[in-house]
Amino acid sequence: MVRTFFLHVEDSSPLINLHPALKILALVAVNLEAWIIESPFVLLTLLLALIALFRALRVPLSRVGRFLAFAAVVVQAIMFSCILGSAIPGRVVLLRLPWGTYVSDMTVLYAAAMVLRFMVMLVGSTLILAVMRDMDVVYGLKSLGVPFTASFTVSLALRAASMFLEDYFKVRDAMVLRGTDFSSGSVFERARKYARLAVPLMVLGVRRMLELSYVLEVKGVGLRRRRTYIHQFQLGWRGYVVAVALVLAPILSLVAKLWLGVLTFPGWPLR
């Protein structure tokens, strides 16, 4: 098993040993593709393909389940705004609302397409981030021409978010043990309790920043200092082909949507 940013993944997974730059390009490409495509049929096919990839690439699919509550919030936001605040022409008008909008058969389909778009982004991002290691962020961004300091800062930011969450739970538990009840009182009273929680949390954050800056200084990380790298990643001709495909895919999709009219809503075979 290999320890990635967020979980343990089988070391036999082909995605683990993928060039870090390809992981980052894939992450961007899958999100851009989902953003560009509007056709529900194409989005559904993409979603099923991504779910199949979880199995094929031996990445635990159960991790997606953790986002079901978050997905449910977004799904209800999409449904709510599409049903109550849109006027998408269709063959049948199911409901006319007093403020001028209406619900047609296409409204429901459009809402479903947007839910699929969101799910493709979520499942695709989870697949790539599940195999992302600390060094992948640094080496991947460096390979794409981002300066080392900026790449390292992004990696540290991702790591710091987890540390900040750990600190939050520690401070909250300590306050609960001293008698603070976060679940009682009015909204403002609760907010005031959280404000009191934020003070030690911020003090911890400042201390961590100080420690981190000393460590970085001791390790010789600087803006203009030249660096040597312990790992060497070779892209190879196959890697270059994949990289070009990942860059071209969103561009071609955008061209196909804007000039050829494919990938638009409702798209084939529903048009």
């Binding site: 851009l32 991790r63 705004s81 969101f118 981030l129 978010a161 003070v199 003090v203």
Partner: protein, 119 residues
């Protein structure tokens, strides 16, 4: 299990950049007006009282435009979203941010990270 696991482009543009924009707007207003974040004088408090709604509005505009671009909401809900975000976020920042500024500004100024201006 990290916070950024399952981080989509939409969430990054929305939460990542949106939450960065709001404090930057506040910082800009404080810099332009030369106000003290410790909120000692009446003038500092007035600047804070104006900076919070402005930054909440800018952040709300950004967040809901991103939602709109990703088709999470439709046009009529953009207005509703911006308005509710403006009210809700301003209240939350006033409640949580004010004691934080008063108690932590001194602490941050005493830390070695703080750069004192010469002269």
């Amino acid at each position: 299990m990290g916070y950024f696991f399952g981080y989509t482009l939409h969430v990054w543009l929305d939460g990542g950049l949106g939450d960065l924009i709001a404090p930057l707007v506040c910082l800009l207003i404080f810099k332009l007006t030369k106000a003290d974040p410790e909120l000692r004088t009446r003038r500092d408090k007035v600047v804070w009282a104006l900076a919070v709604p402005i930054s909440s509005l800018v952040c709300g505009l950004w967040v809901h435009t991103v939602h709109l671009l990703f088709s999470i909401i439709t046009w009529p809900f953009w207005y509703v979203g911006v308005l509710t975000y403006f009210i809700g976020d301003s209240l939350a920042v006033f409640t949580v941010g004010t004691p934080l500024l008063k108690t932590l500004t001194g602490y941050v100024k005493q830390s070695p990270m703080y750069i004192w201006r010469r002269g």
